[in-house]
């Protein structure tokens, strides 16, 4: 088990290094080319992420009028209350959705009353975002490595699963980043904190993959193993 764990952690750390130094930059260049071909001329910026150089785009955030934000706030609070008083959706999901809505409401209140105090521009925000996302990926891979090392399965298969998860996260990170770029520049600045604070939800995927692996393993070993 410990050998497996050492290999998985090495693979995780190595893949993150590979992501920071090579994959991310190439992906940003590709996205930049797509933007340019579409007639959008957005400058690229260099960021300092854990002492490594990574790139993002120099966009400006879309600030909505206060009255618009106020209406959205009313809608958000209304939805929260509706969820509390309805009886169809289970309480655990109500709390989960209401938590997201509460975060949104807090951010809306901030941008209604103190938009001029918002301390972020594109460079500062994406530095923060990428710190968090790279850290999130590394942490996820390591937690997954520990979980996978515990699993009674062949090393090769476990390594294959870990590689698959890493590959998926790399691709997904660009989809998420592109979505963040669009939302904060085209829809609303409210998405700036929202996209930062919802990063952790992606971890549910890791849990699903892990449980599916054990599920398959249990089917194979059913009747042979009892704790």
């Amino acid at each position: 088990m410990w050998v497996d764990l050492a290999i998985f952690v090495l693979v995780s750390v190595g893949s993150i290094y590979f992501y920071i130094t090579l994959i991310h930059h190439n992906a940003m260049m590709m996205i930049h080319e797509v933007f340019t071909a579409s007639g959008l001329h957005i400058e690229m910026i260099d960021l300092d992420i854990y002492t490594f150089s990574m790139s993002a785009f120099d966009i400006s955030f879309h600030y909505n009028s206060q009255i618009t934000l106020f209406y959205v706030l009313l809608l958000t609070v209304g939805l929260m209350l509706f969820l509390v008083y309805q009886t169809k959706i289970p309480l655990n999901l109500v709390f989960w959705i209401d938590f997201l809505l509460l975060l949104t409401a807090i951010f809306l209140v901030y941008f209604i009353f103190w938009p001029t105090y918002f301390p972020y521009n594109a460079k500062k925000y994406f530095e923060l975002y990428l710190h968090a996302y790279v850290g999130f990926m590394l942490m996820s891979f390591i937690v997954f490595s520990f979980s996978l090392a515990l699993t009674p399965e062949k090393l090769g298969k476990k390594l294959f699963i870990l590689s698959g998860v890493i590959a998926y996260y790399f691709v997904y990170s660009f989809v998420r980043l592109a979505a963040t770029l669009l939302l904060v520049s085209q829809v609303s600045v409210v998405f700036v904190p929202l996209m930062y604070f919802t990063i952790f939800y992606d971890f549910i995927l890791i849990i699903y993959i892990y449980t599916f692996v054990l599920y398959k393993n249990t089917i194979k070993s059913q009747g042979l193993y009892h704790g």
């Binding site: 088990m1 854990y50 289970p90 309480l91 655990n92 999901l93 709390f95 989960w96 209401d98 938590f99 975060l103 807090i106 901030y110 105090y117 918002f118 301390p119 972020y120 500062k124 923060l128 710190h131 968090a132 850290g135 999130f136 942490m139 996820s140 937690v143 520990f146 979980s147 515990l150 699993t151 009674p152 904190p193 930062y196 604070f197 990063i199 952790f200 971890f203 549910i204 849990i207 699903y208 892990y210 449980t211 599916f212 054990l214 599920y215 393993n217 249990t218 089917i219 059913q222 009747g223 193993y225 009892h226 704790g227």
Partner: protein
């Protein structure tokens, strides 16, 4: 403002360290259960010299389940001449009294005890204290009314007392109504993580397996010597766990002594249950925290585990403060490199405390139990996270108010459902 930011940043680091400790602890537990040396309970002891036993079943308005549990208990293989069964009717206002009286007329070993006086306070601790004054058994075995003990359960639990260090014994609780809905299925999986891994690993590693207040037994003389159960504490089981260790006794865990219980079938009922557990557990935290540091009986590893166990229901409120703190730091532009990972605390939170066990522990526990289909449901636990931290935090606040006001605590019983008898 600068000082406030500094405190906020320090808090994030403190929380990260604290959460990591719990995560590592649960990893070690899971590892111990999968690959470590397993400590066997006393199942293999063959002895005819069994002690006298009083089996007590606290009941308050248990008309739906009272007869089931008594039927199971009279089938026990424990020597009849050494056992008495005492259902405690604790101010029931439904048909509980009639049911147990009728049952007792048919079975001489069943001796109902009615607590009906108006000046008596209702409560599990009060009932257990009263019953200890007249019971004949050296060992008290406790089952809740919705439990369905197997016929060998009492003998198996009592066998643990052959070890002179053991002051209390705890068996394993299984969920009877796991097939009712998604909630009960998830609770079944959660219970599995708690017993199959946490309890057994604690037993393996000479830590502190918890006495759970049901499917458990204790030495009457020891509990009386310790002053009985404290009626001001809602979690009399956790209280007993710490009292045992503070007085130099150990708790044994019998993983194969299984018993079925009913779990809440609605989220609202589950939320109330979590709040009650948190309140009771935190009351014990306030009562026993200083004693753990000074006790001469706790080994170093027991102290460590005892403290982590005590703080477990305090973590959710610390997390809620942590979330608010990270939002504050975000808008103050004060999330530095270390604290920029503060959102990641939530990953750990989701895995370590939203459900009282990390996802890998739940999954491995159910793997050990041979469950297949339900394994795929593990990601669903992530959606319970917010509900759990909210109600556990409310329980913590309740306990704080209890501490400040010394008010009486009321038992909010989980609603029962009548079901077919499916015990072994």
């Amino acid at each position: 403002m600068d000082n406030l930011i500094l405190i906020g940043q320090a808090y994030q680091i403190f929380l990260l360290v604290f959460m990591s400790i719990y995560m590592i602890q649960h990893f070690i537990f899971t590892y111990s259960r999968l690959y470590g040396e397993q400590r066997n309970y006393y199942h293999d002891i063959l002895d005819t010299e069994m002690p006298t036993v009083s089996v007590v079943i606290p009941m308050h308005n248990e008309e739906l389940v009272a007869e089931n549990v008594l039927e199971r208990l009279v089938l026990s293989d424990y020597p009849k001449e050494k056992m008495e069964i005492i259902p405690i009717n604790d101010h029931s206002t439904d048909r509980t009294k009639d049911i147990i009286d009728t049952f007792a007329r048919k079975h001489p070993g069943v001796k109902p005890f009615h607590r009906l006086k108006e000046d008596e306070k209702r409560g599990k601790a009060e009932g257990l204290n009263d019953v200890m004054k007249f019971t004949k058994g050296d060992i008290i075995v406790v089952f809740d009314a919705d439990y369905q003990p197997a016929k060998e359960a009492i003998k198996s639990l009592v066998m643990g007392f052959k070890d002179p260090q053991v002051g209390a014994v705890m068996g394993r609780v299984l969920v009877q109504n796991s097939d009712s809905n998604l909630l009960t299925l998830l609770l079944d999986m959660e219970r599995s993580a708690g017993y199959q891994i946490s309890q057994q690993a604690r037993y393996n590693m000479d830590l502190i397996p918890q006495y759970g207040g049901t499917v458990g037994a204790y030495r009457k003389s020891v509990v009386r010597q310790m002053g009985g159960f404290d009626p001001k504490v809602l979690a009399e089981d956790t209280d007993l766990t710490y009292k045992m260790y503070l007085n130099g006794w150990k708790i044994a865990y019998a993983n194969k002594t299984e018993c079925y219980e009913q779990m809440p079938e609605t989220w609202a009922a589950r939320a109330r249950q979590v709040r009650r557990w948190s309140r009771g557990h935190n009351e014990v935290l306030f009562h026993h925290l200083p004693s753990i540091f000074t006790s001469k009986y706790f080994t170093l590893r027991e102290k460590w585990d005892g403290l982590l166990l005590l703080f477990v229901y305090m973590m959710p409120i610390l997390l809620m403060v942590g979330i608010a703190d990270s939002i504050f730091l975000f808008f103050m532009d004060a999330i530095s490199i270390v604290t920029s990972m503060s959102a990641l605390l939530l990953i750990m939170a989701i895995n370590a405390f939203g459900n009282f066990a990390p996802f890998f522990q739940i999954t491995i526990a159910n793997y050990l139990d041979g469950r297949t289909e339900s394994l795929k449901l593990t990601p669903m636990f992530a959606f319970n996270f917010v509900l759990y931290i909210f109600y556990t935090s409310r329980g913590f606040i309740d306990a704080l108010i209890d501490l400040a006001t010394r008010r009486d605590v009321d038992w909010d019983k989980t609603k029962r459902h009548q079901r077919k008898n499916n015990a072994k």
